[in-house]
Protein backbone atom coordinates (compact mmCIF):
# COMPACT_ATOMS: atom_id res chain seq x y z
CA UNK A 1 0.00 0.00 0.00
CA UNK A 2 2.85 2.35 0.87
CA UNK A 3 4.51 1.65 -2.47
CA UNK A 4 1.22 2.18 -4.34
CA UNK A 5 0.88 5.52 -2.47
CA UNK A 6 4.31 6.52 -3.77
CA UNK A 7 3.17 5.80 -7.35
CA UNK A 8 -0.10 7.68 -6.84
CA UNK A 9 1.71 10.74 -5.45
CA UNK A 10 4.31 10.65 -8.22
CA UNK A 11 1.64 10.38 -10.92
CA UNK A 12 -0.37 13.25 -9.47
CA UNK A 13 2.77 15.32 -9.06
CA UNK A 14 4.04 14.68 -12.58
CA UNK A 15 1.04 16.43 -14.22
CA UNK A 16 0.76 19.45 -11.96
CA UNK A 17 -1.53 21.45 -14.24
CA UNK A 18 -3.94 18.57 -14.83
CA UNK A 19 -3.96 17.62 -11.14
CA UNK A 20 -4.38 21.28 -10.14
CA UNK A 21 -7.37 21.72 -12.44
CA UNK A 22 -8.90 18.46 -11.23
CA UNK A 23 -8.48 19.43 -7.55
CA UNK A 24 -9.89 22.89 -8.34
CA UNK A 25 -12.95 21.31 -9.98
CA UNK A 26 -13.52 19.08 -6.96
CA UNK A 27 -12.99 22.04 -4.59
CA UNK A 28 -15.61 24.09 -6.47
CA UNK A 29 -18.05 21.17 -6.26
CA UNK A 30 -17.46 20.87 -2.51
CA UNK A 31 -17.77 24.65 -2.11
CA UNK A 32 -21.21 24.46 -3.78
CA UNK A 33 -22.11 21.59 -1.44
CA UNK A 34 -21.21 23.43 1.78
CA UNK A 35 -22.61 26.74 0.52
CA UNK A 36 -25.98 25.14 -0.29
CA UNK A 37 -25.97 23.33 3.08
CA UNK A 38 -25.30 26.59 4.92
CA UNK A 39 -27.80 28.55 2.83
CA UNK A 40 -30.66 26.03 3.06
CA UNK A 41 -29.94 25.39 6.75
CA UNK A 42 -29.68 29.10 7.47
CA UNK A 43 -32.80 29.92 5.49
CA UNK A 44 -34.74 27.21 7.32
CA UNK A 45 -33.49 28.45 10.67
CA UNK A 46 -34.28 32.06 9.75
CA UNK A 47 -37.83 31.17 8.68
CA UNK A 48 -38.49 29.03 11.74
CA UNK A 49 -36.97 31.59 14.06
CA UNK A 50 -39.12 34.36 12.56
CA UNK A 51 -42.26 32.24 12.45
CA UNK A 52 -41.96 30.11 15.54
CA UNK A 53 -39.56 32.14 17.64
CA UNK A 54 -42.39 34.02 19.36
CA UNK A 55 -44.85 31.21 19.87
CA UNK A 56 -45.05 28.33 22.30
CA UNK A 57 -42.99 25.29 21.33
CA UNK A 58 -45.03 22.86 23.40
CA UNK A 59 -48.48 23.66 24.81
CA UNK A 60 -49.95 21.63 27.67
CA UNK A 61 -53.73 21.50 27.95
CA UNK A 62 -56.25 19.30 29.66
CA UNK A 63 -57.34 16.47 27.35
CA UNK A 64 -60.47 17.53 25.49
CA UNK A 65 -63.59 15.55 26.26
CA UNK A 66 -64.94 15.02 22.80
CA UNK A 67 -68.28 13.47 22.04
CA UNK A 68 -68.13 9.76 22.78
CA UNK A 69 -70.17 6.84 21.57
CA UNK A 70 -71.79 5.20 24.54
CA UNK A 71 -73.49 2.26 22.82
CA UNK A 72 -72.42 0.87 19.49
CA UNK A 73 -74.37 -2.38 19.25
CA UNK A 74 -75.33 -2.83 15.60
CA UNK A 75 -78.90 -3.87 16.39
CA UNK A 76 -79.59 -0.86 18.59
CA UNK A 77 -79.66 2.88 18.13
CA UNK A 78 -76.31 4.58 18.89
CA UNK A 79 -76.15 6.85 21.90
CA UNK A 80 -73.74 9.81 21.84
CA UNK A 81 -72.58 11.78 24.82
CA UNK A 82 -72.25 15.45 23.78
CA UNK A 83 -70.05 17.57 26.00
CA UNK A 84 -71.49 20.80 27.33
CA UNK A 85 -70.91 23.70 24.93
CA UNK A 86 -69.97 26.12 27.66
CA UNK A 87 -67.67 23.73 29.47
CA UNK A 88 -64.02 24.67 29.49
CA UNK A 89 -60.98 22.46 29.74
CA UNK A 90 -59.10 23.56 32.85
CA UNK A 91 -55.73 22.41 34.09
CA UNK A 92 -56.20 21.95 37.78
CA UNK A 93 -53.00 20.05 38.50
CA UNK A 94 -50.49 22.50 37.01
CA UNK A 95 -48.85 23.30 40.34
CA UNK A 96 -48.04 19.65 40.90
CA UNK A 97 -45.91 19.10 37.80
CA UNK A 98 -44.70 22.63 36.98
CA UNK A 99 -41.52 22.36 39.13
CA UNK A 100 -40.77 19.04 37.41
CA UNK A 101 -41.11 20.65 33.98
CA UNK A 102 -38.95 23.61 34.93
CA UNK A 103 -36.21 21.24 36.12
CA UNK A 104 -36.11 19.37 32.79
CA UNK A 105 -33.03 19.92 30.60
CA UNK A 106 -33.73 21.83 27.42
CA UNK A 107 -36.74 23.74 28.74
CA UNK A 108 -35.99 27.45 28.59
CA UNK A 109 -39.22 28.82 30.07
CA UNK A 110 -42.70 27.84 31.17
CA UNK A 111 -45.74 30.09 31.33
CA UNK A 112 -49.06 29.31 33.03
CA UNK A 113 -51.84 31.06 31.18
CA UNK A 114 -55.54 31.76 31.42
CA UNK A 115 -56.74 32.61 27.95
CA UNK A 116 -60.00 33.61 26.33
CA UNK A 117 -61.66 35.96 23.92
CA UNK A 118 -63.00 39.42 24.60
CA UNK A 119 -63.45 42.96 23.32
CA UNK A 120 -61.59 46.16 24.00
CA UNK A 121 -64.07 48.95 24.32
CA UNK A 122 -62.97 52.53 23.77
CA UNK A 123 -65.79 55.02 23.37
CA UNK A 124 -67.82 53.81 20.44
CA UNK A 125 -65.00 51.62 19.16
CA UNK A 126 -64.99 47.93 19.85
CA UNK A 127 -62.21 45.58 18.81
CA UNK A 128 -62.02 41.80 19.28
CA UNK A 129 -59.03 40.66 21.27
CA UNK A 130 -57.41 37.43 22.39
CA UNK A 131 -56.62 37.84 26.07
CA UNK A 132 -53.64 36.09 27.64
CA UNK A 133 -53.42 36.14 31.39
CA UNK A 134 -49.81 35.50 32.44
CA UNK A 135 -47.72 35.74 35.58
CA UNK A 136 -46.49 39.29 36.09
CA UNK A 137 -42.82 38.53 35.43
CA UNK A 138 -43.45 36.13 32.56
CA UNK A 139 -44.97 38.35 29.88
CA UNK A 140 -41.85 37.84 27.76
CA UNK A 141 -41.34 34.16 28.59
CA UNK A 142 -42.75 32.92 25.30
CA UNK A 143 -42.93 35.95 23.00
CA UNK A 144 -40.18 38.50 23.40
CA UNK A 145 -42.55 41.33 24.30
CA UNK A 146 -39.91 43.15 26.32
CA UNK A 147 -37.54 43.21 23.38
CA UNK A 148 -40.22 44.57 21.03
CA UNK A 149 -41.73 47.15 23.31
CA UNK A 150 -42.31 50.50 21.60
CA UNK A 151 -43.84 52.28 24.60
CA UNK A 152 -44.35 51.68 28.33
CA UNK A 153 -43.27 48.56 30.21
CA UNK A 154 -43.79 44.83 29.83
CA UNK A 155 -44.86 44.19 33.40
CA UNK A 156 -48.50 43.56 34.16
CA UNK A 157 -50.33 44.49 37.31
CA UNK A 158 -53.89 43.62 38.27
CA UNK A 159 -55.06 46.89 36.76
CA UNK A 160 -52.98 47.11 33.59
CA UNK A 161 -52.94 45.67 30.10
CA UNK A 162 -50.29 45.37 27.36
CA UNK A 163 -51.50 45.49 23.76
CA UNK A 164 -50.07 45.22 20.24
CA UNK A 165 -49.12 48.24 18.17
CA UNK A 166 -51.63 47.58 15.35
CA UNK A 167 -54.48 47.28 17.83
CA UNK A 168 -53.35 50.49 19.58
CA UNK A 169 -53.14 52.28 16.25
CA UNK A 170 -56.59 51.05 15.14
CA UNK A 171 -58.19 52.31 18.35
CA UNK A 172 -55.95 55.38 18.72
CA UNK A 173 -54.62 54.20 22.09
CA UNK A 174 -51.50 55.34 23.97
CA UNK A 175 -49.74 54.21 27.13
CA UNK A 176 -51.48 55.51 30.25
CA UNK A 177 -54.94 55.60 28.72
CA UNK A 178 -57.74 53.54 30.24
CA UNK A 179 -59.80 51.05 28.29
CA UNK A 180 -62.58 48.63 29.15
CA UNK A 181 -61.98 44.96 28.53
CA UNK A 182 -65.06 42.78 28.23
CA UNK A 183 -64.61 38.99 28.25
CA UNK A 184 -66.82 36.45 26.52
CA UNK A 185 -68.16 35.68 30.01
CA UNK A 186 -69.58 39.19 30.10
CA UNK A 187 -67.22 40.36 32.80
CA UNK A 188 -65.91 43.86 32.23
CA UNK A 189 -62.83 45.50 33.74
CA UNK A 190 -61.27 48.92 33.31
CA UNK A 191 -57.53 48.63 32.71
CA UNK A 192 -54.65 51.07 32.13
CA UNK A 193 -52.48 50.53 29.07
CA UNK A 194 -49.05 49.75 30.55
CA UNK A 195 -47.20 48.92 27.34
CA UNK A 196 -47.46 48.69 23.56
CA UNK A 197 -45.41 46.16 21.61
CA UNK A 198 -44.67 45.39 17.98
CA UNK A 199 -43.35 41.83 17.51
CA UNK A 200 -43.87 41.78 13.74
CA UNK A 201 -46.30 38.86 13.93
CA UNK A 202 -49.69 40.11 12.81
CA UNK A 203 -51.81 37.92 15.11
CA UNK A 204 -49.89 39.21 18.13
CA UNK A 205 -49.70 42.86 17.11
CA UNK A 206 -53.33 43.26 16.06
CA UNK A 207 -55.26 40.84 18.27
CA UNK A 208 -53.43 39.94 21.44
CA UNK A 209 -53.55 41.57 24.85
CA UNK A 210 -51.61 40.56 27.95
CA UNK A 211 -53.09 40.93 31.41
CA UNK A 212 -52.10 39.56 34.82
CA UNK A 213 -53.13 36.04 35.79
CA UNK A 214 -55.42 37.42 38.52
CA UNK A 215 -57.13 39.80 36.07
CA UNK A 216 -57.70 36.99 33.62
CA UNK A 217 -59.06 34.78 36.41
CA UNK A 218 -61.72 37.33 37.21
CA UNK A 219 -62.42 38.21 33.54
CA UNK A 220 -63.00 34.58 32.59
CA UNK A 221 -64.63 33.60 35.82
CA UNK A 222 -62.17 30.83 36.61
CA UNK A 223 -61.98 29.96 40.29
CA UNK A 224 -58.97 27.70 40.12
CA UNK A 225 -56.48 26.18 37.68
CA UNK A 226 -55.20 27.60 34.41
CA UNK A 227 -56.18 27.18 30.74
CA UNK A 228 -52.81 25.90 29.65
CA UNK A 229 -49.07 25.96 30.09
CA UNK A 230 -46.86 27.20 27.27
CA UNK A 231 -43.30 25.96 27.08
CA UNK A 232 -40.30 27.42 25.28
CA UNK A 233 -37.47 25.02 24.44
CA UNK A 234 -33.78 25.58 23.81
CA UNK A 235 -34.06 23.52 20.62
CA UNK A 236 -37.37 24.04 18.89
CA UNK A 237 -36.63 21.11 16.56
CA UNK A 238 -36.94 18.81 19.56
CA UNK A 239 -40.53 19.91 20.22
CA UNK A 240 -42.13 16.63 19.11
CA UNK A 241 -40.02 14.45 21.40
CA UNK A 242 -40.48 16.83 24.34
CA UNK A 243 -44.25 16.85 23.73
CA UNK A 244 -44.29 13.04 23.85
CA UNK A 245 -42.24 12.96 27.06
CA UNK A 246 -44.36 15.60 28.74
CA UNK A 247 -47.61 13.89 27.71
CA UNK A 248 -46.34 10.60 29.11
CA UNK A 249 -45.16 12.31 32.30
CA UNK A 250 -48.29 14.35 33.04
CA UNK A 251 -51.04 12.41 31.30
CA UNK A 252 -52.13 15.68 29.71
CA UNK A 253 -52.38 16.75 26.10
CA UNK A 254 -49.02 18.22 24.97
CA UNK A 255 -49.04 19.77 21.49
CA UNK A 256 -45.77 20.59 19.71
CA UNK A 257 -45.62 23.70 17.52
CA UNK A 258 -45.13 21.50 14.46
CA UNK A 259 -48.69 20.21 14.69
CA UNK A 260 -50.17 23.59 13.92
CA UNK A 261 -47.53 24.65 11.40
CA UNK A 262 -47.67 21.81 8.90
CA UNK A 263 -47.49 24.20 5.94
CA UNK A 264 -44.30 25.77 7.21
CA UNK A 265 -42.80 22.34 7.75
CA UNK A 266 -43.85 21.26 4.26
CA UNK A 267 -42.19 24.34 2.84
CA UNK A 268 -39.02 23.72 4.82
CA UNK A 269 -39.00 20.08 3.76
CA UNK A 270 -39.39 21.05 0.09
CA UNK A 271 -36.62 23.59 0.51
CA UNK A 272 -34.34 20.98 2.09
CA UNK A 273 -35.13 18.49 -0.69
CA UNK A 274 -34.20 21.11 -3.30
CA UNK A 275 -30.93 21.70 -1.46
CA UNK A 276 -30.22 17.97 -1.30
CA UNK A 277 -30.83 17.70 -5.04
CA UNK A 278 -28.35 20.48 -5.78
CA UNK A 279 -25.83 18.85 -3.43
CA UNK A 280 -26.34 15.49 -5.15
CA UNK A 281 -25.71 17.12 -8.54
CA UNK A 282 -22.50 18.70 -7.27
CA UNK A 283 -21.36 15.28 -6.04
CA UNK A 284 -22.24 13.67 -9.38
CA UNK A 285 -20.21 16.38 -11.12
CA UNK A 286 -17.25 15.60 -8.87
CA UNK A 287 -17.55 11.87 -9.57
CA UNK A 288 -17.74 12.39 -13.34
CA UNK A 289 -14.85 14.87 -13.26
CA UNK A 290 -12.58 12.55 -11.29
CA UNK A 291 -13.55 9.51 -13.35
CA UNK A 292 -12.88 11.20 -16.70
CA UNK A 293 -9.56 12.72 -15.58
CA UNK A 294 -8.30 9.41 -14.20
CA UNK A 295 -9.53 7.56 -17.28
CA UNK A 296 -7.46 9.89 -19.46
CA UNK A 297 -4.48 9.31 -17.16
CA UNK A 298 -5.01 5.56 -17.52
CA UNK A 299 -4.82 5.76 -21.32
CA UNK A 300 -1.77 8.01 -21.18
CA UNK A 301 0.03 5.58 -18.87
CA UNK A 302 -0.87 2.34 -20.62
CA UNK A 303 2.76 1.53 -21.59
CA UNK A 304 3.95 2.10 -18.02
CA UNK A 305 1.16 -0.05 -16.65
CA UNK A 306 2.14 -2.77 -19.12
CA UNK A 307 5.75 -2.63 -17.92
CA UNK A 308 4.68 -2.72 -14.30
CA UNK A 309 2.56 -5.79 -15.02
CA UNK A 310 5.44 -7.44 -16.93
CA UNK A 311 7.76 -6.96 -13.95
CA UNK A 312 5.35 -8.56 -11.52
CA UNK A 313 2.89 -5.86 -10.45
CA UNK A 314 -0.42 -7.52 -9.69
CA UNK A 315 -3.71 -6.21 -11.07
CA UNK A 316 -4.58 -5.28 -7.48
CA UNK A 317 -1.49 -3.10 -7.19
CA UNK A 318 -2.48 -1.21 -10.37
CA UNK A 319 -6.05 -0.78 -9.08
CA UNK A 320 -4.77 0.55 -5.74
CA UNK A 321 -2.47 3.09 -7.46
CA UNK A 322 -5.42 4.64 -9.30
CA UNK A 323 -7.90 4.40 -6.42
CA UNK A 324 -5.40 6.17 -4.13
CA UNK A 325 -5.12 8.94 -6.74
CA UNK A 326 -8.91 9.31 -6.64
CA UNK A 327 -8.94 9.39 -2.83
CA UNK A 328 -6.13 11.98 -2.71
CA UNK A 329 -7.84 14.22 -5.27
CA UNK A 330 -11.12 13.92 -3.33
CA UNK A 331 -9.42 14.61 0.01
CA UNK A 332 -7.35 17.60 -1.13
CA UNK A 333 -10.20 19.08 -3.21
CA UNK A 334 -12.68 18.37 -0.42
CA UNK A 335 -10.62 20.04 2.30
CA UNK A 336 -9.83 23.02 0.03
CA UNK A 337 -13.48 23.45 -1.01
CA UNK A 338 -14.79 23.11 2.55
CA UNK A 339 -12.12 25.50 3.86
CA UNK A 340 -12.88 28.00 1.11
CA UNK A 341 -16.59 27.73 1.89
CA UNK A 342 -15.97 28.40 5.57
CA UNK A 343 -13.78 31.43 4.84
CA UNK A 344 -16.22 32.90 2.29
CA UNK A 345 -19.33 32.35 4.45
CA UNK A 346 -17.86 33.43 7.79
CA UNK A 347 -18.51 37.17 7.30
CA UNK A 348 -22.26 36.57 6.88
CA UNK A 349 -24.27 37.12 10.08
CA UNK A 350 -25.86 33.98 11.55
CA UNK A 351 -29.66 33.70 10.98
CA UNK A 352 -30.43 34.82 14.56
CA UNK A 353 -28.72 38.12 13.79
CA UNK A 354 -29.67 38.42 10.11
CA UNK A 355 -31.64 41.46 9.03
CA UNK A 356 -34.80 41.15 6.94
CA UNK A 357 -33.89 40.95 3.26
CA UNK A 358 -30.31 39.79 3.89
CA UNK A 359 -28.90 36.38 2.91
CA UNK A 360 -29.44 34.16 5.98
CA UNK A 361 -26.36 31.95 5.51
CA UNK A 362 -25.50 29.90 8.57
CA UNK A 363 -21.78 29.13 8.44
CA UNK A 364 -22.28 26.59 11.27
CA UNK A 365 -24.49 24.44 9.04
CA UNK A 366 -21.96 23.92 6.21
CA UNK A 367 -21.81 20.12 6.71
CA UNK A 368 -18.05 20.36 6.14
CA UNK A 369 -17.11 16.92 7.39
CA UNK A 370 -19.97 15.26 5.51
CA UNK A 371 -18.95 17.15 2.35
CA UNK A 372 -15.32 16.00 2.63
CA UNK A 373 -16.27 12.40 3.49
CA UNK A 374 -18.80 12.14 0.66
CA UNK A 375 -16.31 13.68 -1.75
CA UNK A 376 -13.58 11.24 -0.77
CA UNK A 377 -16.06 8.37 -1.09
CA UNK A 378 -17.36 9.69 -4.43
CA UNK A 379 -13.84 10.20 -5.78
CA UNK A 380 -12.91 6.69 -4.65
CA UNK A 381 -15.93 5.22 -6.42
CA UNK A 382 -15.13 7.38 -9.46
CA UNK A 383 -11.60 5.99 -9.60
CA UNK A 384 -12.71 2.37 -9.64
CA UNK A 385 -13.71 2.41 -13.32
CA UNK A 386 -10.37 3.87 -14.52
CA UNK A 387 -8.51 1.63 -12.06
CA UNK A 388 -10.19 -1.47 -13.44
CA UNK A 389 -9.46 -0.31 -16.98
CA UNK A 390 -5.80 0.13 -15.98
CA UNK A 391 -5.66 -3.32 -14.40
CA UNK A 392 -6.97 -4.87 -17.64
CA UNK A 393 -4.11 -3.42 -19.73
CA UNK A 394 -2.43 -6.26 -21.63
CA UNK A 395 1.36 -5.90 -21.24
CA UNK A 396 1.94 -7.63 -24.59
CA UNK A 397 -0.21 -5.11 -26.42
CA UNK A 398 1.41 -1.99 -25.00
CA UNK A 399 5.02 -3.18 -24.85
CA UNK A 400 4.91 -3.99 -28.54
CA UNK A 401 3.79 -0.46 -29.44
Amino acid sequence: MLYALKFALRYLGSSKLQTGLLVLGVAIGVFVFVFISALIGGLGMFLVDRTVGDISHVTIEAPSRDATLISARPDTAATVYQKAVGQREVLRTADAFLPMLEAMDGIRATSQQIVGNGFILRGQSRAPVYVKGVEADKVSAISDIDGHLIAGSARTTNSSIIIGATLASDLGLRVGQVINLQSDRNVERALIIAGIFSVGVETLDSRTAFVSLATARSLFDLDQGVSRIEIKLDDLNAAESYAQRIAAMTGLKATPWTENNAQLLDGLRAQKNSGDLIKAFSLVTIVIGVASALLLSTYRRRPEIGIMRAFGASRFFVVVVFVIQGILVGLIGGVLGAGLGYVVMSPFPVPEQAQSGSLPIDVRQGDYLVAVLLTVLGAMVASILPARAAARVDPVEVIGQ
Binding site: L2, F311, G312, I399
Partner: protein, 227 residues
Protein backbone atom coordinates in the same frame (compact mmCIF):
# COMPACT_ATOMS: atom_id res chain seq x y z
CA UNK B 1 23.00 -29.61 -17.32
CA UNK B 2 19.40 -29.37 -16.19
CA UNK B 3 16.91 -27.66 -18.47
CA UNK B 4 15.85 -24.23 -17.31
CA UNK B 5 13.14 -23.85 -19.92
CA UNK B 6 11.61 -26.64 -21.93
CA UNK B 7 8.97 -26.16 -24.59
CA UNK B 8 7.58 -28.89 -26.76
CA UNK B 9 5.32 -28.79 -29.82
CA UNK B 10 4.38 -25.18 -29.04
CA UNK B 11 1.56 -23.79 -31.15
CA UNK B 12 0.19 -20.25 -31.05
CA UNK B 13 -2.72 -19.21 -33.20
CA UNK B 14 -4.18 -15.70 -33.33
CA UNK B 15 -7.81 -15.18 -34.35
CA UNK B 16 -10.42 -17.76 -35.18
CA UNK B 17 -11.98 -19.40 -38.20
CA UNK B 18 -10.91 -18.13 -41.62
CA UNK B 19 -8.95 -15.25 -40.13
CA UNK B 20 -6.92 -17.52 -37.86
CA UNK B 21 -3.17 -17.06 -38.17
CA UNK B 22 -0.84 -19.73 -36.87
CA UNK B 23 2.36 -17.99 -35.76
CA UNK B 24 4.10 -20.83 -33.94
CA UNK B 25 3.73 -24.25 -35.49
CA UNK B 26 4.96 -26.95 -33.12
CA UNK B 27 8.15 -25.31 -31.90
CA UNK B 28 10.59 -27.20 -29.65
CA UNK B 29 13.24 -25.44 -27.58
CA UNK B 30 15.34 -26.08 -24.51
CA UNK B 31 17.35 -23.49 -22.59
CA UNK B 32 19.80 -24.51 -19.90
CA UNK B 33 21.33 -22.56 -17.04
CA UNK B 34 24.03 -20.17 -18.27
CA UNK B 35 22.85 -20.13 -21.87
CA UNK B 36 23.50 -17.01 -23.92
CA UNK B 37 21.34 -17.61 -26.97
CA UNK B 38 20.46 -15.40 -29.94
CA UNK B 39 17.02 -15.82 -31.47
CA UNK B 40 17.22 -15.09 -35.16
CA UNK B 41 14.67 -15.02 -37.92
CA UNK B 42 12.89 -12.76 -40.38
CA UNK B 43 10.09 -10.43 -39.29
CA UNK B 44 6.88 -12.34 -38.70
CA UNK B 45 8.67 -15.60 -38.05
CA UNK B 46 7.31 -15.76 -34.49
CA UNK B 47 10.36 -14.61 -32.45
CA UNK B 48 8.46 -11.97 -30.46
CA UNK B 49 5.53 -14.34 -29.87
CA UNK B 50 7.96 -16.97 -28.58
CA UNK B 51 9.61 -14.45 -26.21
CA UNK B 52 6.20 -13.33 -24.97
CA UNK B 53 5.16 -16.90 -24.20
CA UNK B 54 8.51 -17.64 -22.53
CA UNK B 55 8.00 -14.50 -20.46
CA UNK B 56 4.59 -15.88 -19.31
CA UNK B 57 2.89 -12.77 -20.68
CA UNK B 58 0.89 -14.89 -23.15
CA UNK B 59 -0.39 -18.46 -23.12
CA UNK B 60 0.23 -20.86 -26.04
CA UNK B 61 -2.71 -22.33 -27.95
CA UNK B 62 -1.27 -25.81 -27.39
CA UNK B 63 1.96 -27.59 -26.49
CA UNK B 64 3.91 -27.64 -23.28
CA UNK B 65 5.92 -24.93 -21.56
CA UNK B 66 7.80 -25.60 -18.38
CA UNK B 67 10.32 -23.51 -16.47
CA UNK B 68 12.28 -24.63 -13.44
CA UNK B 69 10.17 -27.77 -13.60
CA UNK B 70 6.88 -25.90 -13.26
CA UNK B 71 4.11 -26.14 -15.85
CA UNK B 72 3.46 -22.63 -17.13
CA UNK B 73 0.41 -23.46 -19.26
CA UNK B 74 -1.92 -24.35 -16.41
CA UNK B 75 -0.83 -21.76 -13.81
CA UNK B 76 -3.22 -19.00 -12.79
CA UNK B 77 -2.71 -15.39 -13.84
CA UNK B 78 -1.74 -14.38 -10.29
CA UNK B 79 0.71 -17.30 -10.01
CA UNK B 80 2.31 -16.38 -13.35
CA UNK B 81 2.66 -12.74 -12.22
CA UNK B 82 4.49 -13.85 -9.08
CA UNK B 83 6.63 -16.36 -10.99
CA UNK B 84 7.57 -13.72 -13.58
CA UNK B 85 8.56 -11.31 -10.83
CA UNK B 86 10.90 -13.82 -9.19
CA UNK B 87 12.40 -15.74 -12.10
CA UNK B 88 12.23 -13.72 -15.33
CA UNK B 89 13.73 -10.40 -16.37
CA UNK B 90 12.94 -8.39 -19.51
CA UNK B 91 14.93 -5.97 -21.63
CA UNK B 92 12.94 -4.30 -24.40
CA UNK B 93 14.05 -2.47 -27.52
CA UNK B 94 12.58 0.80 -26.23
CA UNK B 95 13.88 0.39 -22.63
CA UNK B 96 10.35 1.15 -21.26
CA UNK B 97 11.48 2.81 -18.05
CA UNK B 98 8.96 4.53 -15.80
CA UNK B 99 9.53 8.18 -16.80
CA UNK B 100 8.49 9.79 -13.51
CA UNK B 101 10.97 7.76 -11.49
CA UNK B 102 14.76 7.90 -11.01
CA UNK B 103 17.20 5.32 -12.35
CA UNK B 104 17.42 3.72 -8.89
CA UNK B 105 13.63 3.67 -8.43
CA UNK B 106 13.25 1.96 -11.81
CA UNK B 107 15.87 -0.65 -10.95
CA UNK B 108 14.40 -1.57 -7.56
CA UNK B 109 10.82 -1.73 -8.90
CA UNK B 110 10.64 -5.57 -9.30
CA UNK B 111 11.69 -6.09 -5.65
CA UNK B 112 9.67 -3.21 -4.22
CA UNK B 113 6.45 -4.20 -5.95
CA UNK B 114 6.64 -7.71 -4.51
CA UNK B 115 7.53 -6.52 -0.99
CA UNK B 116 5.18 -3.52 -1.01
CA UNK B 117 7.94 -1.00 -0.26
CA UNK B 118 11.48 -0.03 -1.17
CA UNK B 119 13.67 -1.74 1.42
CA UNK B 120 17.18 -0.57 2.29
CA UNK B 121 18.58 -3.87 1.01
CA UNK B 122 16.79 -3.39 -2.31
CA UNK B 123 18.16 0.13 -2.68
CA UNK B 124 21.69 -1.09 -1.90
CA UNK B 125 21.44 -3.83 -4.52
CA UNK B 126 19.93 -1.37 -7.01
CA UNK B 127 22.83 1.06 -6.47
CA UNK B 128 25.31 -1.79 -6.86
CA UNK B 129 23.70 -2.89 -10.13
CA UNK B 130 23.69 0.69 -11.46
CA UNK B 131 27.40 1.02 -10.60
CA UNK B 132 28.01 -2.28 -12.34
CA UNK B 133 26.38 -1.08 -15.56
CA UNK B 134 28.46 2.10 -15.35
CA UNK B 135 25.78 4.45 -14.05
CA UNK B 136 27.03 5.02 -10.52
CA UNK B 137 26.92 8.75 -11.16
CA UNK B 138 23.35 8.70 -12.53
CA UNK B 139 21.60 6.87 -9.68
CA UNK B 140 19.19 9.69 -8.83
CA UNK B 141 18.66 10.97 -12.35
CA UNK B 142 15.13 10.75 -13.69
CA UNK B 143 14.68 8.32 -16.58
CA UNK B 144 13.92 11.26 -18.87
CA UNK B 145 17.33 12.80 -18.06
CA UNK B 146 19.29 9.79 -19.38
CA UNK B 147 20.58 9.08 -22.89
CA UNK B 148 19.31 6.12 -24.94
CA UNK B 149 22.32 3.95 -24.05
CA UNK B 150 22.07 4.86 -20.38
CA UNK B 151 18.35 4.04 -20.32
CA UNK B 152 19.04 0.63 -21.83
CA UNK B 153 21.68 -0.07 -19.18
CA UNK B 154 19.19 0.93 -16.47
CA UNK B 155 16.72 -1.48 -18.12
CA UNK B 156 19.34 -4.28 -17.89
CA UNK B 157 19.98 -3.49 -14.23
CA UNK B 158 16.21 -3.62 -13.60
CA UNK B 159 15.96 -6.99 -15.36
CA UNK B 160 18.67 -8.36 -13.03
CA UNK B 161 17.29 -6.87 -9.80
CA UNK B 162 15.56 -10.02 -8.52
CA UNK B 163 18.43 -12.24 -9.71
CA UNK B 164 16.22 -14.02 -12.26
CA UNK B 165 17.28 -17.30 -13.83
CA UNK B 166 16.16 -16.10 -17.28
CA UNK B 167 16.43 -12.71 -18.99
CA UNK B 168 14.51 -12.24 -22.24
CA UNK B 169 15.80 -9.41 -24.42
CA UNK B 170 13.85 -8.26 -27.46
CA UNK B 171 16.19 -6.32 -29.79
CA UNK B 172 18.01 -4.78 -26.80
CA UNK B 173 20.45 -2.89 -29.04
CA UNK B 174 18.03 -2.17 -31.88
CA UNK B 175 17.54 1.42 -30.83
CA UNK B 176 21.16 2.21 -29.96
CA UNK B 177 24.17 3.52 -31.86
CA UNK B 178 26.98 1.03 -32.59
CA UNK B 179 29.12 2.09 -29.62
CA UNK B 180 26.28 1.89 -27.11
CA UNK B 181 25.13 -1.40 -28.65
CA UNK B 182 28.64 -2.83 -28.17
CA UNK B 183 28.72 -1.70 -24.52
CA UNK B 184 25.31 -3.23 -23.80
CA UNK B 185 26.28 -6.54 -25.40
CA UNK B 186 29.56 -6.59 -23.50
CA UNK B 187 27.60 -6.05 -20.27
CA UNK B 188 25.22 -8.93 -21.07
CA UNK B 189 28.14 -11.27 -21.78
CA UNK B 190 29.84 -10.30 -18.52
CA UNK B 191 26.71 -10.91 -16.45
CA UNK B 192 26.11 -14.21 -18.22
CA UNK B 193 29.68 -15.27 -17.43
CA UNK B 194 29.80 -14.15 -13.81
CA UNK B 195 26.25 -14.88 -12.61
CA UNK B 196 25.32 -17.72 -14.98
CA UNK B 197 22.11 -15.89 -15.82
CA UNK B 198 20.51 -17.32 -18.95
CA UNK B 199 19.88 -14.79 -21.73
CA UNK B 200 17.69 -15.28 -24.80
CA UNK B 201 18.19 -12.34 -27.15
CA UNK B 202 15.95 -11.73 -30.13
CA UNK B 203 17.96 -9.83 -32.77
CA UNK B 204 18.43 -9.11 -36.47
CA UNK B 205 21.99 -8.00 -35.89
CA UNK B 206 24.52 -10.65 -37.03
CA UNK B 207 27.24 -9.17 -34.79
CA UNK B 208 25.07 -9.45 -31.72
CA UNK B 209 24.16 -13.01 -32.71
CA UNK B 210 27.82 -13.84 -33.22
CA UNK B 211 28.60 -12.61 -29.70
CA UNK B 212 26.22 -15.23 -28.27
CA UNK B 213 27.09 -18.83 -27.43
CA UNK B 214 24.08 -20.24 -29.28
CA UNK B 215 22.12 -19.10 -32.31
CA UNK B 216 18.56 -20.34 -32.71
CA UNK B 217 16.86 -19.61 -36.00
CA UNK B 218 13.10 -19.46 -36.23
CA UNK B 219 11.42 -19.72 -39.62
CA UNK B 220 7.67 -20.02 -40.15
CA UNK B 221 7.01 -20.62 -36.48
CA UNK B 222 9.53 -23.42 -36.02
CA UNK B 223 13.08 -23.57 -34.74
CA UNK B 224 14.71 -24.84 -37.89
CA UNK B 225 18.39 -24.40 -37.28
CA UNK B 226 20.75 -24.13 -34.33
CA UNK B 227 24.45 -23.58 -34.13
Amino acid sequence: MTALVEIRDLVKTFGEGETATRVLRGLDLTLVEGDLAALLGPSGSGKSTLLTILGTLMRPTSGSHAMLGEDMTSASDAALTEFRNRHIGFVFQFHHLLPDFTALENVVFPTAVSKGRETREARERGEELLRRVGLGNRIHFRATQLSGGQKQRVAIARALMNQPELVLADEPTGNLDRESAGQVMELIREINETEKTTFLISTHDEKIAAACKRQIKVVDGKAVAES
